[in-house]
């Protein structure tokens, strides 16, 4: 199970990487494994803002559907357009090509409440 050290995580299995004030958000390797084949990522193309802890879209897999929750609040500045045609990149590259949204982080202190890679490993029972 891949849990990169440089990312922050939510209990709902999202990750965020922050550069400057821009956070890139996706779902974790563990989450994609649990979901199985991702067939559709449903994020409202008109979405302008997300709020910490609130659903910003859903992921459809063959067997199930799952909500995605924002790790922090902020303005949405970009959606990953590639997912419309190739949702399977969420499975093959969850921390890279499978990213979901880019957010302008409104309040950096919100990030302090997120999980470290060690905390997240513990959560999913992968701690060493």
């Amino acid at each position: 199970m891949n849990v990169p050290e440089n990312l922050k995580y939510t209990k709902d299995h999202e990750w965020i990487s922050v550069e400057g004030n821009v956070g890139t958000v996706g779902i974790t390797d563990y989450a994609q494994g649990e979901l199985g084949d991702v067939v559709f990522v449903d994020i409202d193309p008109g979405i302008a803002e997300v709020k910490s802890g609130e659903s910003f879209g859903t992921i459809e897999a063959v067997k199930t559907v799952s909500d995605m929750y924002a790790p922090c609040s902020g303005k949405v500045i970009e959606l990953n357009k590639k997912l419309a045609d190739e949702p399977q990149v969420v499975n093959s590259d969850p921390y890279g090509e499978g990213w979901m949204v880019k957010i302008e982080v409104a309040d950096p202190s919100e990030l302090d409440g997120l999980l470290s890679s060690e905390d997240y490993k513990q959560l999913i029972g992968q701690a060493h």
Partner: protein, 361 residues
């Protein structure tokens, strides 16, 4: 938690294991879509040893089977299989099952794992014929070998040619093991189901020889996830989803197995005759959509913002790459070609009633 004789094989293969009907079962090995396509295009193997095998024995075996199931088992000859259902007196379905006629005095009933104990008790309660009812589920392993290359695969192991018709079976020796070889399955493909006794060693030997024989066809292990998507593409009912104790076989589209005029009485016959005479209030229908939002069990079906039914099974079809579903709708909306909507997270997503199977073979 129960384990099948192949549990260790699944673990070694890295399968994702889930609790299904009290068994640790593989839901997927690599990917549901890849496993699904392996069955449609070449050959796949499912461990479905969790299924229940109940044997009915005695001089009145046929009378019992006729009484407890809705299909006409008197039409069976030894070596033939029939799809059937058991009903409660009110017409609700106890379970759907396969009826194997072994001989005039022996039938094997293959039932859903999740219903097995309930079914066994139901049979015992209704045994007014004094037949022997033996639950031998724990003794049998069951492998389903399904796909266009299944015959070429199984035949290599088998001491008999597999030139049998759909829904026929025989006893044979395969991989050095005595088994019931049945041309049945839950996928709509050419396929065989292999019932055999023995411990983990025996089961692993059969599994290994199957994979050796199927190597040239790129044979794949297939989990319950793809089993579900494969059956749904064919429109086969799944108990607990499309049928249960609140649905009767007529509204479930199982009129073709409900022989109301068979030559003997059976449980629910009077109620089902009445249902038929009065007309159905709702029907199980098949629907597909061109949108990218997927209907799931429990979602409402609407017309003009009014609820007219409910989805009982839904997924993305791996072959059609679009949403497919089954569900009950009020009879007035059940005409093929009708437009309905799936209510998905508050949005009405247009769908159309279509003919089964979803994929044309």
């Amino acid at each position: 938690m129960k384990k099948t004789t192949l549990f260790q094989v699944h673990e070694r293969l890295g399968a994702k294991l889930i609790d299904f009907a009290g068994f640790m079962m593989p839901v997927q090995y690599s990917s549901i879509i890849a496993e699904h396509k392996a069955v449609r295009n070449s050959v796949g193997v499912f461990d479905v040893s969790h299924m229940g095998e109940v044997f009915i024995r005695g001089s009145k075996a046929l009378d019992f089977v006729q009484y407890i199931t809705v299909n006409d088992a008197s039409k069976l000859t030894p070596g033939r299989v029939q799809y059937s259902a058991m009903c409660y007196p009110d017409g609700g379905i106890v379970d759907d099952l396969l009826v194997y006629k072994v001989s005039d005095e022996e039938f094997m009933l293959v039932v859903n794992a999740s219903n097995k104990d309930k079914d066994y008790n139901w049979m015992k309660e209704n045994n007014k014929f004094g037949v022997e009812i033996a639950d031998e589920s724990d003794e049998y392993s069951l492998l389903a070998v399904q796909g266009p290359d299944s015959q070429r695969t199984v035949e290599k192991l088998c001491d008999k040619k597999l030139e049998m018709e759909y829904y026929h079976f025989f006893k044979a020796r395969c991989a050095g093991v005595d088994m019931i070889v049945s041309r049945t399955g839950y996928t709509g493909e050419l396929g065989y189901e292999l019932y055999f006794k023995g411990d983990e060693k025996v089961a692993e030997k059969v599994w290994t020889e199957l994979f050796e024989a199927g190597k040239e066809f790129d044979i794949q292990p297939v989990g319950l996830g793809a089993r579900d998507s494969l059956r749904l593409e064919m429109g086969f009912c799944l108990y607990g989803h499309d049928i249960d104790q609140t649905t009767n076989p007529l509204e479930a589209g199982l009129g073709w197995i409900t022989k109301l005029n068979k030559n003997s009485d059976f449980i629910a016959k009077d109620v089902l005759l009445k249902v038929k005479a009065e007309g159905l209030k709702r029907k199980l229908v098949a629907m597909s959509s061109e949108e990218k939002a997927f209907p799931r069990q429990g979602y409402d079906i609407t017309v003009d913002s009014k609820k007219v039914g409910c989805v009982t099974s839904g997924t993305v079809s791996p072959m059609l790459e679009k949403p497919i579903a089954m569900g009950y709708v009020d009879t007035e909306y059940s005409r093929e070609g009708s437009q309905v909507n799936f209510l998905i997270r508050g949005k009405e997503i247009p769908a159309k009633l279509v003919k089964l199977p979803f994929i044309k073979k």
